[in-house]
């Protein structure tokens, strides 16, 4: 039986008059790699932001690990201008901040890398361990949690070793080459101990060789960290290579979903990518 880790129901995200995500229904199976693709401006990043708590959807529900982590319905001004395809409003309002959702076991990377630029590679990863700290501020300041602190340092060291960044341990993160910055961002997300890893265009700006390495890397960490992966990507080779399921967005709407083979031959997808005229 398949086990669903993340589910979105009728997620609609409207900014002013623009419906950036329209009636998105996704089911992400545990231990699989799911991809979200679509032309520029299709609403992929927006969907990520809704799932991770950055935005509150205008309508719809997000369920993670059988827990409703976000739910909303058109309220006040949105009630008047709501223009989603799915009209039935949901009933409840559930709001969780991104940090809470991360602590529940969902970690992400950003399309335009957001490392802690002035801090070292080591610190970047170490900070991500802070979210599960048990000691309070005073215990931590007076170093009464030595064991916990030592474990944090150890784990960080091990994680850096695992992703091949140990040699860059004390370098400033912004001084790393681009590919390693992407890798560090993934390592940092892993340090929060996620069940679900969301990657927003991890291969952006990479050459074919680097992309191939990344593809291997994702598969590797998926196995060794027991992850479910949800990624946005434009590099079709990568997507087709590693994904089990693909969702295709265009202008906020889901125009196709299925296995790589199914999606690849879907006329609607071809049309969206090549433009209407050539269909």
């Amino acid at each position: 039986m398949k086990e669903i880790l993340l589910k979105t129901e009728h997620i609609t995200m409207q900014f002013g008059g623009v419906v950036a995500v329209d009636d998105l229904n996704i089911e992400i199976e545990k231990d699989r790699i799911t991809a979200l693709i679509g032309p520029n401006g299709a609403g992929k990043t927006t969907a990520f932001n809704v799932i991770t708590g950055g935005y509150q959807p205008s309508n719809g529900r997000v369920t993670f690990d059988d827990l409703v982590i976000g739910e909303n319905y058109p309220r006040s001004k949105m009630k008047k201008i709501y223009n989603g395809t799915y009209k039935t409003p949901f009933e409840k309002q559930v709001v969780n901040t991104p940090d809470k959702i991360t602590r529940l076991g969902m970690a992400r990377t950003f399309q335009n890398i957001r490392l802690f630029k002035d801090l070292t590679v080591f610190e970047n990863v170490l900070i991500a361990k802070h979210c599960h700290i048990k000691a309070g501020l005073f215990r931590s300041t007076f170093m009464l949690n030595r064991e916990e602190e030592a474990k944090m340092l150890e784990d960080t060291e091990a994680l850096l070793e695992r992703v091949g960044l140990l040699a860059n341990r004390d370098e400033k993160s912004s001084s790393l080459p681009y590919g390693k910055q992407r890798r560090l961002e993934i390592a940092r997300a892993l340090a929060t101990g996620p069940k679900l890893l969301l990657l927003d265009e991890p291969a952006a700006g990479m050459n074919p060789k680097e992309t191939e390495e990344l593809s291997l890397f994702i598969k590797e960490i998926k196995e060794s960290f027991n992850l479910t992966v949800f990624l946005i990507e434009h590099h079709m080779n990568l997507v087709m290579d590693i994904s089990d399921t693909i969702y295709v967005l265009d202008y906020g709407k889901t125009i196709a979903q299925g296995t790589p083979a199914e999606v690849q031959n879907d006329p609607a997808v071809i049309r969206a990518y090549l433009g209407v005229d050539e269909a």
């Binding site: 900014f15 990043t45 932001n49 950055g54 935005y55 950003f110």
Partner: protein
């Protein structure tokens, strides 16, 4: 309080509010374009007070006013060139600190040049002429201030909406980076913005100090901060908003003083600011935006 006293206070309040409105426009324009709270703006206003004092010792008033306005405008442009331009790509905190530094410098410089003892502000006879309207009495400047403010704002609005420079200003304040890519000369737009802001602060200074009669090196600090609050209140970046905010704060402040709460009149302004930021951070007329992740 009788009706007459209330009206009398309102009149004073409107006049004070007019001066505040003129200063608030400077904050709103600069913030709109550079996202900078120009902490030195209040001190430019204070310096204008001193310029007028000195100009009037050797020139008749029309020329003195002209000199004051020209020098104030040039000072505004100069400060931008010297203290803000070099930091254009620096973090926002640095440029804000630079603004505080300029404010500190201007205060210390004027303490050095003019001493901390209040200087009498010269009387310009026609401004001080008393008018009697029924039971209300007011000097000419009290009546002139709001009228002049409105006229200047209308001119400014036409300038911003109809001229090429004005369009460029609006473009830059909407999207700095894109405007730059579109080939707008950012530095020129910023200079014009500071020129307009300082010019209006100069006019505001003459109107304000004529009513208050003395200037000290610290006369600019609190009015400056209050006018920033006025700008936030009206919706930062929005010119009519700044004007409404200026009048509102001027009137409320005057009424509070009249009611015997003068120590709280400054505090009220900041209380208003905090409430506003919490309830409606975009101000009365500002537009709402969602930050992109």
């Amino acid at each position: 309080m009788s009706m007459t006293t209330i009206l009398q206070h309102c009149l004073t309040g409107i006049s004070l509010g007019g001066a505040y409105a003129l200063i608030a426009i400077g904050y709103t324009l600069v913030y709109g374009i550079l996202r900078l709270i120009n902490f030195a703006h209040g001190d430019i206003f204070m310096m204008a007070g001193y310029f007028m004092i000195f100009a009037l010792t050797s020139f008749p008033w029309p020329i003195a006013i002209l000199i004051t306005l020209v020098v104030t405008t040039l000072m505004g442009i100069g400060i931008e060139r010297a203290a803000y331009k070099p930091l254009r790509s620096a973090p926002r905190m640095s440029i804000m600190i630079s603004a505080i530094g300029v404010s500190y410098l201007l205060q210390n410089l004027s303490t050095y040049l003019f001493t901390a003892i209040p200087r009498g502000y010269p009387e310009i006879p026609f401004l001080k002429k008393i008018f009697q309207m029924g039971e209300l009495s007011a000097s000419f400047v009290t009546i002139l201030t709001p009228i002049l403010t409105i006229i200047l704002v209308v001119i400014l609005m036409i300038l911003v909406n109809k001229t090429k420079t004005g369009m460029a200003m609006r473009a830059v304040s909407k999207d700095f980076e894109t405007a730059k890519l579109m080939g707008i000369n950012i530095n020129r737009v910023i200079s014009v913005t500071f020129a307009i802001g300082s010019f209006l602060a100069g006019v505001g200074s003459i109107l304000y100090f004529t009513d208050r009669m003395s200037v000290t090196p610290f006369s600019g600090t609190l009015p400056g901060l209050k006018c920033f609050v006025a700008a936030v209140f009206g919706g930062i970046g929005n010119i009519p908003g700044a004007v409404v905010g200026g009048f509102f704060i001027g009137i409320v402040e005057t009424l509070l003083v009249a009611l015997g709460y003068s120590t709280f009149s400054d505090a009220f302004t900041f209380f208003l600011l905090i409430v506003m930021l919490l309830v409606r951070p975009t101000g009365l007329f500002g537009e709402k935006t969602v930050e992109k992740v």
